[in-house]
Point group: C2
Chain length 339, copies 2
DNA sequence: CTGTTAGCGCATTCAG
DNA sequence: CTGAATGCGCTAACAG
């Protein structure tokens, strides 16, 4: 039924080892024979069985990618970019969507990628135990999120600097009551929201603005969460005149809440997001842009580099540039005061 | 180094076949021995090599998913949903991003999934040659896009009915000059935009409205494309009072163009989209909703069903429900006329 | 219920 | 430059 290397060898009148060498471009085959074999293989529609060749060689030509979500813009975009780099180099991508605690736990205990991938790209921040499990695979590891981590090549951004630039922008515009909608604070090892919050506090302190805990709300990184969080902030006795949302999706939720409350943006309330979501421009959202596609591609590239040169010292942490993009959702506070 | 089935067998004092049977839950092993083996395997941190077991059994427990994009909302969402179903059933997902003509061509000529997957889910519409290539894999095939197709289980929507409901809505509001921003018309086998256009023409004809080719523009399924297309439409001598965009992303681009032209929505121009993108609600976009998550999950489920019962006749075409969602971007035409 | 024996399809020694 | 032999780790008959 399905054509194997033996069929090609027989049809070409050579041995299977010659076929193997010829097709993979290894030395030790005359150009003549090589061309002949290529022709025969094409005719027969031969493709080497990945299972068999990985079993024999130990290499899988497959990269495992683990992510907490796929449908969400940031992750889909990183994945898209990384996949292109991998496939261009002849690697396949094995995808694991680890959104729920159960799937996540099952993945790390059973480690289905063991002996199945040549490297792993993580789009989620593993806790210490999970990181150890990944290291036990003994393959190159990379990540596009979180801070530096032993055994991983992390291609990230300076979350503190990014968040600081957003909040400082609001301060410079003259805002004093600045709220924040933060990302999920639940998994403690998820350092991103912590770093961004730290920046928020630091900038306020620098500006001599007293921190008001009532001006903080959790938006869980979703549009709905952002909407709820904004609603909470508006319910305060003295609502903010400006809000820093830790992600564009939450910022969009905030915009919706403001619209429902008949508040104008930026006249009544200013809003800054974080990410530069593909629709941020459509909406006119002021935000901190991070090179999402670039992060995915760069992480993939660095992983391939390690695969090519296993002995070289892998880079630990690569910082990608960020920049504040001013659009239409921020302005000086209304002279009439909040509301 | 890495622990194999032989190590487990030796440690448990049984043969490798018993270990194999025990760990895969096959009959013919006493509960006692099975439990013992499970313990030993866990202690040693044993995971069966997928390469070896697929080579031996012919089954890969892997599903190939091919998509034209991943970062774009529709595809990311379908993929997310499908992956969850597959992984819950113990299957891994091999992802192929076939966005460019080159990657696409390479995939279909080399067919890297051959002997590597137990089934294929396609998020793109293959042309006849590509479909034949997939059929040659001799594994169950499913798709979430396009119309019925031989050898495929297609979980789609009634594009004609969906588009018709959108255009009819505009007609019912009293619009006579109704424009359309269509999806990429380039690959001829891409039937979706054709079906939606057909519906547009049909509804206009039904309403006794003469079709004006100047009221159609191509938006290539992107936000930027939608913006450009809308700009073109506005440049017409008699611009439309309402526009049907074949995707929400193009509708969002249209909204942006309208804003730039200082036209109010829906007062000056009404806009309807298609998809119910996650941000459509945030923007208040009237649109035709399709159950994207449901389509991905259902297609995955049907594929697994075929894997479980290879002899059963696979369903050819499953129609998922659609519905028009009225929000804030559509209203009767302004009594003052266009502009 | 359990062990023995053969491959699955290929890459890689080692000879020639 | 080429072919013959060996084994990667596992599953699937086949015996017992």
């Amino acid at each position: 039924m399905t054509v194997s290397i033996t069929d090609v060898a027989r049809a070409a009148g050579v041995s299977t080892s010659t076929v193997s060498r010829a097709l993979r471009g290894r030395p030790g085959v005359s150009d003549e024979v090589r061309a002949q074999i290529a022709t025969v293989a094409a005719q027969l529609g031969y493709t080497a069985s990945r299972s068999a060749s990985s079993l024999a060689s130990g290499r899988t030509f497959t990269i495992g990618v683990i992510a907490p979500y796929i449908g969400r813009w940031f992750f889909g975009t990183v994945l898209d970019a990384a996949e292109k780099v991998f496939s261009a180099a002849g690697y396949d991508v094995l995808l694991y969507n680890l959104g729920t605690p159960e799937t996540r736990k099952r993945f790390f205990t059973r480690l289905p990628v063991r002996k199945r991938v040549d490297a792993v790209l993580s789009l989620l921040i593993p806790d210490e135990e999970e990181a150890a499990a990944l290291r036990s695979l003994e393959v190159p590891l990379a990540s596009t999120v979180g801070g530096a981590r032993e055994g991983f090549t992390v291609v990230g951004i300076d979350d503190h600097a990014g968040a600081a630039s957003a909040v400082r922008h609001l301060v410079n515009l003259g805002h004093r009551r600045i709220g924040m909608i933060s990302g999920a604070s639940e998994p403690l090892h998820w350092t991103t929201p912590l770093a961004r919050r730290r920046a928020y506090l630091d900038v306020l302190a620098d500006a001599g603005i007293e921190h008001d805990p009532k001006l903080e709300a959790d938006g869980g990184y979703t549009v709905e969460g952002g909407e709820q969080a904004m609603t909470e902030l508006l319910a305060a006795s003295r609502p903010p005149t400006a809000v820093f949302a830790q992600s564009d999706e939450m910022a969009m939720g905030a915009l919706r809440a403001l619209r429902r409350h008949r508040l104008r943006v930026p006249d009544d309330v200013s809003v800054v997001g974080f990410d530069d979501h593909e629709l941020a421009e459509v909406i006119g959202l002021t935000t901190v842009a991070q090179p999402v596609t670039g992060q995915g591609a760069e992480a993939a590239r660095l992983l391939l580099e390690q695969l090519d040169a296993p002995d070289a010292e892998p880079p630990g942490h690569v910082q990608m540039p960020i920049r504040l993009i001013l659009r239409e959702t921020t302005a000086p506070p209304s002279p009439r005061g909040p509301q």
